[in-house]
Symmetry: C2
Subunit: 153 residues, 2 copies
Amino acid sequence: MLNHKHDHDACIETALESAQKICEERETRFTPLRQRVLELVWSKHEPITAYEVLELLSKGQKKVAPPTVYRALDFLIAEGFVHRIESLNSFVGCSDPAHKHQGHFMICTKCRNVTEMNESSLHNVIENAAKENGYSYENSILEIAGVCENCRN
Amino acid sequence: MLNHKHDHDACIETALESAQKICEERETRFTPLRQRVLELVWSKHEPITAYEVLELLSKGQKKVAPPTVYRALDFLIAEGFVHRIESLNSFVGCSDPAHKHQGHFMICTKCRNVTEMNESSLHNVIENAAKENGYSYENSILEIAGVCENCRN
DNA sequence: GATGGCTTGATATTTTATTTCAATAAGGGC
DNA sequence: GCCCTTATTGAAATAAAATATCAAGCCATC
């Protein structure tokens, strides 16, 4: 778990406001559905699956079908508001949506909390590794499994 | 594609022999099924899906069910003979089965060929990144998408 | 208020992976 | 060799994750 003092409601709100603003700048449509899905993805710091989002989304309202969720997620990923965690078939809110980038993550194998690494040095190393092996660089995923500080104590 | 002169039959054979030897050392059972699945995974350098293996395996003999393939793959992965490419839901033969390690890969977005990187420097950087962020290191996946040298020419 | 494009709804299907229990095969101790 | 235990494979069903397709709705602009 994150720090218990962590005000997660504020965290969600910031993410939503930030996304709202970015969409206005880009003139992309941050529809109610997309807002709601982003909110649900942010509802915990742990990665959430598309079908979990589906279930939450369907609560207390007309049920939605999988494509509805996947399309919203596709949009949010394209805008950089959400990252997909490949090793978990899950999704997490991006901690730095203003700058488009790949997700490089650490995943706690105990609490399943995810921490995003935005270190440019790491990114450079990865990009260089590709070039040294004769590949042009397009994008990359890095997912490190380990145990976070809180869980080790 | 890899170098056209690449003798892929020899490549498969080496992988099988190497696996055979390692299993003898470890006293694990390299059964005919597991051998056959490893051979099929190695049948191309591109990643192969479990269901593609299933189909090849079922050719000209009694059809097998998905768990048969997945169990064989689980064994091969546990022994380090095969890696899973998370971003493609696919599997590739390991180029260095003697040393257990994570797979760090580059994936060509044109020819879909996969190159495994066994650079310890890269591994060190990743392990350090985890520690700097307060995580203990267990394992990691790195999958870089780009265009390989051959495809750029 | 018609047009065209994006967005969502709805249904069906595909792809990927696992659960469960039964049958078979392999190795260890006697 | 024969029994016992355990590992492996077979078989059927199901679960989980994702996509294809077409219809309906919304919205901006003319």
